[in-house]
Amino acid sequence: MFAAMDRIPILRMGDFLLVTIQLDMHDQLASALQDDLTTKIAEANAKGVLIDISSLDIVDSFIGRMLATTSAMARVLGAETVVVGMQPAVAITLVELGLDLSGVHTALDVEKGMEMLRNRISLPELGNTDVRF
């Protein structure tokens, strides 16, 4: 569903929204995505959001913060967000960068992310709810 050209499409899958980020986003595109997602969550009364970043070979602090902010805003609107598919090199770099991504759920891929959203289990000993270094 495009609002305008050069915006990242958001797919609706029942109660969930799926976004696949496939290109190196410039800052404005990232901000637009954040706006579009929050609008759509409210519109669709979505319960979950999946953000697939498996094609991203760079996640810098701007995009990282966008993911964290989107996640927080979605939660306020009653939806949980799962970021899926982070590449190893990106994960290693983000840890080194020291970005605080606590509060962002993560999963290996869309399928597992979906499962996580369906279960909405907060695991007692291994909390995959806090991503903190």
Binding site: M86, V90, L126
Partner: protein, 285 residues
């Protein structure tokens, strides 16, 4: 007087090339199995050309001056390629050092010099060729070092086995003293394997590690954090009392990481977490 090196390289170019080829082909270090006569001739001719141009400047000393750039570049390409092909250092250096005799012969043949001038020319040429020969050897060593480094990295990757011990559960037993490089490679391999096998849990076992210093501990913690960002969790097992003490002393914060005393306990934990109650697979499944 000092321009005669430049002169002979121009006036006796062909004779020098012939004599030089003869020297190289008859040398013990000639590797006819690795290079053809035709190719060698082309290379030698090319060297003569760039050297000839360089010495026109009158500089026979400073091989790092701009006029020698093409010479050095040629020798660099030559030396790297020889190294990669498997030539030994002396086989490679022979190319340059065997150039001396033909030059000295050429001086003699030019005939119209006084003895003092003749000796001066030989000496200057000798020094120049030595410098070029040494440069060739240095480059050779550098490229060999690169090859060795790459081979070491490949070996490191092979020697850090990440095992899939159950569906979706990986184990990485670290053994021996860990240095920063080895730990980095092991951790990167682990993360890569997590993606490839879609495993949500990785057990890093350090039973076989005698000591853990700050750097290694930080690597471990960073790996755990990176795995979480990717959507997987890590358990560190095999922390012996001494290591536990060291970590506390170093103020390494393990409060966010699940730790188990043994690999077996870690596996039991992992299986419970993934919903499988027993260690034995149900034959009916």
């Amino acid at each position: 007087m000092t321009t005669s090196i430049a002169n002979v390289l121009v006036s006796q170019r062909n004779e020098i090339l012939q004599e030089w080829m003869r020297q190289q082909l008859s040398s013990e270090t000639m590797r006819a199995d690795l290079v053809s006569e035709a190719d060698l001739r082309t290379e030698s001719d090319r060297f003569l050309e760039v050297l000839s141009r360089a010495v026109q400047s009158g500089n026979f000393n400073d091989i790092h001056a701009p006029e020698y750039k093409p010479v050095l570049e040629m020798l660099e390409r030559f030396s790297r390629s020889r190294g990669l092909q498997g030539f030994s250092p002396s086989e490679t250096a022979t190319f340059v050092f065997s150039f001396k005799q033909p030059i000295f012969d050429a001086f003699r043949k030019s005939g119209d010099m006084d003895p003092a001038g003749h000796i001066e020319n030989i000496w200057a040429a000798n020094l120049l060729i030595d410098k070029l020969g040494l440069y060739t050897t240095e480059i050779y060593q550098q490229s060999r070092e690169e090859v060795i480094r790459r081979q070491q990295e490949e070996m490191l990757e092979l020697s850090t086995p990440v095992m899939e011990i159950w569906e979706g559960i990986l184990a990485l037993p670290l053994i021996g003293t860990l240095d920063s490089a080895r730990t980095s490679v092991a951790m990167e391999t682990l993360l890569q394997t997590i993606v490839e096998t879609r495993s949500e849990l990785a057990i890093i076992d350090i039973t076989g590690v005698p000591t853990v210093d700050t750097l290694v501990a930080q690597h471990l913690l960073k790996t755990v954090a990176a795995a979480r960002l990717m959507g997987a969790d890590c358990v560190i097992s095999g922390i012996r009392p001494q290591i536990a003490q060291t970590m506390v002393h170093l103020q390494i914060d393990l409060s966010e990481v699940v730790t188990k005393a043994t690999l077996a306990e870690a596996l039991r934990f992992a299986l419970k977490r993934s919903g499988r109650a027993t260690l034995t697979k149900n034959p009916k499944e």
